[in-house]
């Protein structure tokens, strides 16, 4: 699943991947953005390391309301993604906006979440579109 409004505002899959896989060394993110990404990783994996000193660093770039906004957003996601993982369900829309069955969605997106630029996803999506084009009457 991807945010349609983020996409419309120019967020690309490349930038998403860069933000997940390479934010520490990347030139594409500001220090403030990198700190937000660090906050997120820590909350997921090592929340005990988010202490007064970390909040002081965060406070150099973000106001109190912004820190609360990030903290609550990240906390919500930390709680929900693990729960959703256990339910083993998939988006109903393909990356190109078609409504598909859970079986088809699993075939497109794969058994584990990866970048939409991943060769496997690109191939599966192309095959899925061919199947649509091959349907009788099209």
């Amino acid at each position: 699943m991807r945010s349609a409004s983020a996409k419309r505002n120019g967020l690309t899959e490349e930038r998403i991947d860069e933000g997940i896989d390479n934010w520490r060394d990347s030139d594409e993110f500001t220090d403030a953005e990198k700190l937000a990404l660090e906050f997120s990783e820590l909350m997921q994996f090592e929340p005990e390391k988010i202490d007064d000193a970390f909040y002081a660093r965060l406070g150099e770039h973000y106001s109190t309301p912004e820190m609360v906004e990030l903290g609550v957003f990240i906390g919500f996601n930390v709680g929900y993604h693990t729960f959703f993982r256990t339910l083993d369900f998939y988006p109903m829309f393909t990356p190109d906006g078609r409504l598909v069955s859970q079986e088809e969605s699993r075939r497109i997106y794969g058994e584990t979440p990866v970048s939409h630029r991943d060769d496997r996803v690109v191939r599966a999506l192309a095959e899925s579109m061919e199947d649509v084009d091959d349907r009788p009457g099209r």
Binding site: L11, E69, F73, T82, F84, F89, F93, P113, V114
Partner: protein, 76 residues
């Protein structure tokens, strides 16, 4: 998981119609939680608030959201 047709007959119909019209957000959120319409509605409002409102750049939140979903092995 509920079917789209079931959702369109439920209290969540308004949300789901919007999902289908705009192709976003993905309606699987309602399909998986729609057994409890009141809770699903409250969760959707909470999610919409923390994801779509506030001062933090939405694109940054989207990167964080995808980061956390991959870390948790969430396919949705």
């Amino acid at each position: 998981m509920l079917e789209i047709d079931d959702l369109l007959e439920s209290e969540l119909a308004g949300f789901v119609k919007k999902c289908l019209r705009h192709r976003a957000p993905d309606p699987a959120f309602h399909a998986i939680q729609g057994h409890n319409p009141a809770l699903s509605k409250a969760l959707y409002i909470a999610w919409g608030t923390v994801f779509n409102t506030g001062a933090i750049d939405h694109e940054l939140k989207e990167i964080i959201r995808v980061q956390l979903s991959r870390a948790a092995l969430c396919n949705y």
